[in-house]
C-alpha cells in the first residue's frame, strides 16, 4: 500500500515544487518590465534545468510544466506589447488629437471675433456713407446699394453663428476622445498586476456618465434643419408665448 502511494506522493511533491518555482519566476518577470528578450531566453534555459532537477522521475510533468511556463511567458510578452501600444495610443495620439480640436475651436472663435469686429467697422462705414449722402441729396441708386450693403453685412453677422455650433460639435468630439482615453487608461491599468484588484475608481460610474452632468455643449448641435426644429419648438411654445401671464 505504502509502495503504491509513493509515486502519486512524489508527483504531488514535484508538482508543488514546480508551482512554487513558477510562482517565483512569474514574480521575477513582473518585477522586470524592461527585461529584454535575451534575458527571457536565459530565464527559460534556467527553468528547464531547475525543472529537470525537481522532477527527475516525471518527464511528462516536466514537459507539461515547461509548456505552461512558455505559454505564460508568451502571454506576458503579448500583454507588455499591448500595454505599450495602448499607452502610445492614449498618451500620444488621443491627447494630440484633443489638443488639435481645442486649437481649432480656439482659432475659429478668434477668427469669428475678428470677423465681427470687421463687420462692425464696415457697418459704421455704411453709416458714415449715409451721413455724407444725406448732405448732398444722393441719388436713389446709391441709397439702394448702401441699404443692400448694410443688409449683407447684417446677414454675415448672423452666419457667424456657425462658430458657436461648430465649437459645440468640437467639444462633443473632444469629449468622446476623453472618454476613449479614460477607458484605454483603465485597460492599461488592468494590464498592471497591481490594478487587477478592482480599485474604488474602477467600480465607479463610467466616465461619460460623470461628464454628462457637467457638460457645457449640446452633443446634437447642428446647423442643419433649423426651420424644422424651430417649427417643433413653435408647436410647443406658441400657446405658452401668446397667453397672458
Amino acid at each position: 500500500m505504502a509502495e503504491r502511494n509513493r509515486v502519486p506522493n512524489d508527483v504531488l511533491s514535484d508538482s508543488e515544487a514546480a508551482l512554487r518555482m513558477m510562482d517565483a519566476i512569474l514574480e521575477e518577470l513582473q518585477g522586470g518590465k524592461d527585461r529584454d528578450e535575451a534575458a527571457l531566453d536565459h530565464a527559460v534555459g534556467q527553468v528547464m534545468q531547475r525543472l529537470e532537477a525537481v522532477t527527475p522521475g516525471s518527464p511528462d510533468l516536466a514537459a507539461l510544466v515547461m509548456h505552461v511556463y512558455l505559454d505564460v511567458i508568451e502571454t506576458l510578452r503579448i500583454l507588455r506589447r499591448t500595454r505599450s501600444a495602448l499607452e502610445r495610443a492614449t498618451v500620444e495620439q488621443v491627447q494630440a488629437t484633443q489638443q488639435k480640436l481645442r486649437e481649432v475651436s480656439s482659432t475659429t472663435e478668434l477668427a469669428a471675433t475678428d470677423m465681427l469686429d470687421g463687420l462692425d467697422r464696415a457697418i459704421a462705414m455704411v453709416d458714415r456713407l449715409e451721413a455724407l449722402a444725406a448732405d448732398r441729396q444722393d441719388d436713389e441708386e446709391s441709397k439702394n446699394v448702401r441699404a443692400e450693403l448694410r443688409e449683407e453685412l447684417y446677414r454675415l453677422i448672423v452666419v457667424l453663428q456657425f462658430q458657436d455650433i461648430a465649437a459645440q460639435q468640437l467639444s462633443h468630439a473632444s469629449s468622446v476622445l476623453r472618454n476613449v482615453e479614460q477607458r484605454l487608461e483603465r485597460v492599461v491599468g488592468l494590464l498592471d498586476e497591481a490594478d487587477l484588484v478592482s480599485s474604488p475608481d474602477s467600480e465607479g460610474e463610467a466616465p461619460d456618465q460623470a461628464h454628462e452632468r457637467t457638460r457645457t455643449y449640446d452633443p446634437a448641435a447642428s446647423m442643419l434643419d433649423a426651420e424644422d426644429r424651430q417649427a417643433l419648438a413653435d408647436e410647443i411654445f406658441t400657446p405658452i408665448a401668446t397667453r397672458d401671464r
Binding site: D164, R215, T216, D218, A241, T242
Partner: protein, 125 residues
C-alpha cells in the same frame, strides 16, 4: 426696453445683441453664464434671452432660480439654444421659459418671439 443676454459664447452674445439692435433694442446687459446672470438681473430688466448649455449654472437652472425670485417671477424669458429635442423643449416650458428659439436663428424669428412674449406680458400687466 432693457434686455439681459446670457450666453457663454462671446460670439453668440454679440450676434444676439447685434440682432436686437437691428430690431430697435439697444439697451442690453450681458452675462456669460446663469450664475452671472442671476447677479446681473434686477427689476430694470424687461426681457431675458438665455442659452441652455453653459458652465457653472446652465440656462434651465438659471430660469428655475429666476422664477423663484420675487423680481424674476414674471419677466419674459426666451431661450436661444441648439437643443431641439421635444423633451428638451418641454423641459424648458416646464422650467418657466416663455418662448424658444432654435440656433442658428434669423433676426426675424428672434423678433417674432420677442414680440409674442412682450405682447403677452403687456396683456397681463
Amino acid at each position: 426696453m432693457r434686455f439681459l443676454v446670457v450666453d457663454d459664447s462671446v460670439t453668440m452674445r454679440r450676434i444676439i445683441i447685434n440682432s436686437l439692435q437691428r430690431i430697435g433694442y439697444t439697451d442690453c446687459v450681458e452675462a456669460g453664464d446663469g450664475s452671472e446672470a442671476l447677479e446681473r438681473f434686477d427689476a430694470s430688466i424687461d426681457c431675458v434671452i438665455t442659452d441652455w448649455n453653459m458652465p457653472i449654472v446652465g440656462g434651465l437652472e438659471f430660469v428655475q432660480q429666476l422664477r423663484q425670485r420675487e423680481d424674476g417671477r414674471r419677466v419674459p424669458v426666451i431661450m436661444v439654444t441648439t437643443r431641439s429635442a421635444r423633451d428638451d423643449i418641454v423641459a424648458a416650458a416646464q422650467a418657466g421659459v416663455n418662448n424658444y428659439v432654435v440656433k442658428p436663428f434669423t433676426p426675424q424669428v428672434l423678433k417674432e418671439k420677442i414680440d409674442q412674449v412682450l405682447a403677452g406680458a403687456a396683456r397681463a400687466s
